[in-house]
Symmetry: C2
Subunit: 337 residues, 2 copies
Amino acid sequence: MLICCENKEGVAGQISLIAEALKTKGRIAVLSHNNADGDTLGSCIAACIALQKLGKDVSMIYEEDFPENMSDIRTGHDFYMLLPPGDDSALERKWDAIAVFDAADPKLLGRRAKLLEKAEFVVNIDHHISNYCFGDLNIVDADASSTAEIVYQLIEELGVPLDHDMALAIYAGICTDTGGFSYSNTTAVCHEIAARTLMFGIDVANLRFKFFDAISIGKLHCHGYVANTLKLHEGGKCAIVVVSAATLAELGATGEDCEGLVNIGRNIVGVKVSMFAREVRPGEFRINLRSRGDVDVSAIARLLDGGGHRSAAGCTIKAAPSEVEAILLGALREVCN
Amino acid sequence: MLICCENKEGVAGQISLIAEALKTKGRIAVLSHNNADGDTLGSCIAACIALQKLGKDVSMIYEEDFPENMSDIRTGHDFYMLLPPGDDSALERKWDAIAVFDAADPKLLGRRAKLLEKAEFVVNIDHHISNYCFGDLNIVDADASSTAEIVYQLIEELGVPLDHDMALAIYAGICTDTGGFSYSNTTAVCHEIAARTLMFGIDVANLRFKFFDAISIGKLHCHGYVANTLKLHEGGKCAIVVVSAATLAELGATGEDCEGLVNIGRNIVGVKVSMFAREVRPGEFRINLRSRGDVDVSAIARLLDGGGHRSAAGCTIKAAPSEVEAILLGALREVCN
């Protein structure tokens, strides 16, 4: 679904419009979203390289260090500009255009959101259905696997031949946002672009290890705890894990170590709904919900004042550790009956 | 590396030769290897569909049920012929040609190996460097990601337009043999072919779940045991897990549940060598060795009368559970010093 796009000819026409507009600009700021992932970073880096090759004065302005597993896509270029903590003077500079990649909401730009207020011209390129269409020119194509997929087309339209570093960045964006070409957003187009990027000698095995498989010993211990304490309910259709703050402290686990643990239950054969509860403050649990199949877990989340999507949702509940399981099962039964 | 191929024009010329030869045959038996994986099954199924479309009398003869996670690629065709246990009468039939896919050694054909002895014409298509080149016409291309990649070219050469079921089978072969497009054998060609198969409406998310993520509760408990008992040695560079027969019995785990558990250690950041020891008989341990980086684990395996490749090897040792760790560390140190 094409969420927003000013051009009647659709994405291709709009990409052409944006390419023409960017060609007329001299100084361009490129913005990734905070809590950055491979898609926002890969999209920004590839766009910056292409714009630099066209002679533009480009800066990729970001305000959090790259995540460790994305270090390889930060290739040697001079456009990286990390906003120093507490010092916004870099934002005072005058830009002819601001280009934002993969950010559905200006709030995700943190302190850099203020750049949009006084900007002369804002380009907004994204694939999230929830995008606010805050640009002067927007492409928000929810049918694209990733923003990097759109950026690949933009680079073609700009007439810049792909090189190794752009290919690496585009590969990273598509690969991470499709879960290694495994999610339902994986299309023939994803594989076609991946094929072209691999012609530049991308070290697939090394990247894939860093993107998906590399695990800290702390996170491994969390995995072990989940594997050993996970309980099946409703005839094996529902998996629940509850982890108290005391257990997390014992395991030496951080909140980051708990990311994705809800998928362990979801991957068990026969499980339709997986629930992971983590005590974030005494008596307060953050709940992650995932489904495989028919159950709409956002309905469960809404019952508990949370929200989300059909297959991935979340909420926060106040309860003692011993009460959490019963509360979650109660909500599940209310939704399913 | 092209291991064997009678044609001087290389793979393309040889595929053309084989296609021409098969077109002249009426009754064709297609053989997968035992302990079947997605590549041998996908290759055979795609080849059978294509040959049937050319009007051939084709049977895919196999002697073990399809693994559960490959059930979706067994689409509705009439060429499947499961060899009944203890009854080889089906092998007595006369075939004009035998086509073997993904089997490096006739031993991997089990009882069907006898078909080769009296065969008039044998085609051998594979990508394993260790292939014996036992056919009358062979393509053994170790540069191909998978046998399915070669079969895709063969189908093109036969002039049969791809359809959904062939696309599904080819996708399964390439996807499983490249670890979901993540191993170092993943090439631009893999992605190009994947792109074409996805145009037939392949349910990527469902297949990928079955191929890689689906886990039984028994295997999950093995994961948990490994995660909690894994020990790091040599300053975090070596991970070792030893599982006694008693523990396996307690966990209710089968040998199959232990498959791939050596990779848990290998995925820990900083680990160069991962060792997994499983007691298969009282006082006898099967050892799986994996490396990431410089260490040649086949050298460790050879010290202990085993063998394998640089990054994946194995051996069997006789020892008490309490002695295994010291034996493995001793061998590691001997190889690395």
